[in-house]
Assembly symmetry: C2
Homo-oligomer: 501 residues x 2
């Protein structure tokens, strides 16, 4: 006899397959599709998204979830079954709250706002984007009302990316990050010339870059037998199953960092998906639990591992051998310092490990101001520049390098940005816990090795996929809620050392 | 108000999108997917195929087809609307004839027969494959009964690949091909050393091969703005829309033909899809009408264009410039002759332009013998070798190079093989007609140019997609039914010249 849970699982497996096929349509669009294929590709993606949405939000699915929940009322909280039902109940309720009319309008505005943003950024003309951003803000406000919230509208949006996290909690943490890291940033600014990053700014043959990126990503634990490295304009990671989790990167002919640290970053994301437990196969639990936790895994590999001295002691000789002319004259110390240069800049995606968070805090604060109506969209450029001055001490020369730099605001997706900075904080807190529980991790890391670290991540984080909310996971793994402390300790130690503070 | 036809179209568009997403899952599986991703990929493809099948074979779809047909009873025969309804009626009736139980058993047997075939071929041990082929033959017999036929069971199977074509018609044409081209093959055999193909058997750098294949495929009219060239083990072409029709090829480090002629072959297929009329977008009419007509387009580009003297006069200097050591000492005449060497061989996919048909005729005859029960599966190896002797004058040293060489018989797909040879015959007949209607085609071809030829193909064949059956198309384009005459004239002239007969 088929149980209700089995019947539910069959439906969820089908929906999962459709979603993963849509993910492949999207991956291929960025990697292999000829540009003219786009019209049909959008139709194909729209069709699969619609089928998945219709199938999932059907009354029948809700009834099946509740029937399976009743059947499994005694299942332990951390069992796969109970965890899947918790997740499905939440997601079902959320999906049903967005009316088809809202979804249609949001999709239409996003579709038109995107090219308007491209043009506005190209011409550095905010006026071209302003009417679209106004509509995006209205859609965000409407979305918050549809989802509902207890304290403030931003809670409703943040919750979609970082389940159950409250705006007030993020605000307190970000305020602490500001308080503690602005002085560090200023101290470094006074010694900006102490680090020379010219070694990474030289001509580097792209085929050799590819060879090296494959070597170091495999070395940190990204499994190429269950992965694939592709080339794109805007790097990302995606997975179609734990056994096919792909990374992408880009190659600059005269700047090494994007390929190296982009490759390590995306490997961190993909390793999370590769590490989900096989028993979660074909369910929505077989992926990272939130954007913030996902980002903790990518930042861990990019920064805590990839920008460590031990890592470059281990791998720099191979890089030197590939590029003897460029790097023969630079020591591993030179190179380690070069990839750790801290310097406030205008562009978020180019920011260093310390100043990156400021770019996010700025967006987090401006999103709330616009959402709550304290800031009119037309005044965004001024507000942006004021905050840049406050947080980073620099002001962009134009809006293209200011409030027009990111694509994100061409969609009603407020609440997404903070997860980037949360990732940095989670990463530091996880790493501190990992080392305290297994000192081998630290000794291996000093040799540039990650075997024990990855084993710890698999055991404590990866295998669980989406079984627990981010808050539950952090508490479970580190014994306390998310805090800024570990991150501040990490950057203070590291950069005091590098900059001789 | 929405018409019934519009409602039908919306459903058909959705099904089409699902089918094309499934096609991408399949393309990616061959090109980019890491091997371990296969388990999930099979689940994803199975899910999409099931959804498409369920949606299409639903009673509601049949009713919608009939309602739309009634609504459009006065539409001209060659209108897109009437053509789509004709196609859908045929396909709906066919799909409903296969019972879910049959589909399930056929899928199971295919799934298990494939690895058995791989092992049997690797060990050249027919006994390992025999029980599976027996089941495949039984499934083909059952399939023929499910579909139904007027004259002979093979008709029912052939019809699935070459709509409305009858076995008797193919038999008569193939008998004529045998009668007329065996003497030519024998005359050439007596002068086998007149052509030296050693120029194509040398070391050739693969990156340079890629560069050259891109050049010549673009030169014949394959549009890379709406295409993509990938690397695979078993080359194929596929399309996700006329604006994204992809080719694949393979690269041998010491043999030039597979890349060159494989690339041209797959370009011919993809150009057919690229040339379908934009108004057929998102319908099943937006592709080639049958396997045989599709093969006519690939063979046209591979052989009639790609193995012509004019083509190499135009392109050989560039190839020589890429490979001066290998080809500097060989004239264009040498090279033209080398790529046109005729020599009976054991393996179908390596056969030359003249002897290829014999490999197909052999399979066509053996499939009928097995289907009709005249040949027991256990006697296949002997029957195979006897026919090889009769048709090609050579006998393979083992079954791996004989009856175990093709994957096709691990599926219940009898009726597919003949379309390969039909393609050669269609191609010659189309080409003869094209030149008679527009002499510029011949003068351009003598210069290695295909502009007028491709324009003619677009106008007369490509744009129609699947609107007409292959028989209708041939009659419409050439004014007569398919015949072997043009092909025999073509090979006789060409090879008499090359071999000085």
């Amino acid at each position: 006899m088929t149980t209700k849970y089995e019947a539910l699982l069959e439906k969820i497996n089908t929906i999962h397959d459709i979603d993963k096929a849509a993910a492949l349509l999207s991956w291929d669009r960025e990697t292999n599709m000829p540009p003219k294929g786009d019209r049909a590709r959008i139709d194909q993606m729209t069709t699969l998204h619609r089928l998945s949405y219709e199938m999932f939000t059907a009354d029948e699915t809700g009834e099946l979830i509740e029937a399976a929940a009743a059947e499994l009322a005694d299942a332990p909280y951390d069992s796969n079954e109970a965890s899947l039902i918790r997740y499905l109940r939440r997601f079902y309720a959320d999906q049903r709250k967005l009316t088809p009319d809202y979804v249609r309008r949001a999709s239409e505005v996003s579709g038109q706002a995107r090219p308007a943003w491209v043009k506005a950024r190209a011409e550095s003309n905010f006026a071209l984007f302003q009417p679209w951003l106004e509509q995006v803000v209205e859609l965000c406000q409407e979305q918050a009302e549809l989802y509902g919230y207890e304290n403030e509208p931003y809670d409703a949006l943040l919750d979609k990316y970082e389940t159950n996290m409250k705006t007030a909690e993020v605000r307190a943490i970000f305020d602490a990050v500001k308080k503690e890291s602005i002085p560090l940033r200023e101290a470094i600014a006074a010694r900006v010339d102490a680090v020379d990053d010219s070694p990474v700014h030289q001509p580097f043959d792209i085929d050799k870059q590819k060879q090296f990126v494959r070597t170091i990503t495999a070395a940190i634990g990204y499994d190429y037998e269950r992965g694939h490295l592709g080339t794109v304009v805007h790097p990302f990671a995606t997975s179609f199953t734990r056994d096919d989790a792909r990374i992408t990167t880009r190659w600059y002919p005269d700047f090494l960092n994007p390929a190296l640290f982009g490759g390590l970053h995306e490997s961190g994301h993909a390793m999370y998906e590769q590490g989900t437990h096989p028993d979660l196969y074909r369910t929505p639990l077989a992926r990272g639990t939130s954007l913030g936790i996902h980002e903790s895994q990518s930042r861990m590999m990019e920064n805590i591992v990839g920008r460590s001295y031990g890592f470059w002691q281990a791998h720099y000789p191979a890089l030197q051998a590939l590029f003897p002319e460029q790097l023969g004259k630079h020591s591993v110390e030179d190179f380690y310092r070069a990839v750790n240069k801290v310097q406030p800049s205008f562009i978020r995606v180019e920011a260093d490990e310390l100043t990156y968070n400021f770019h996010i805090i700025l967006r987090f604060e401006l999103e709330q101001a616009m959402l709550n109506g304290y800031l009119a969209v037309k005044d965004l450029p001024t507000a942006w520049n004021d905050k840049m001055q406050e947080l980073l001490g620099v002001v962009p020369p134009n809006d293209a390098q200011g409030c027009l730099q990111d694509v994100h605001w061409s969609r009603p997706g407020f609440g997404y940005f903070p997860t980037y900075a949360l990732g940095n904080l989670y990463a530091a807190q996880f790493y501190e816990t990992a080392v305290s529980q297994n000192p081998t991790i630290a000794s291996e890391m000093a040799q540039g090795q990650t075997t024990a670290l990855v084993a710890w991540l698999r055991e404590n984080i990866h295998q669980h996929g989406r079984k627990f909310t981010p808050g539950e996971l952090v508490q479970r793994v580190t014994g306390q809620p998310l805090s800024h402390d570990a991150f501040i300790r990490y950057v203070t130690t590291k950069f005091s050392n590098i900059y001789g503070l």
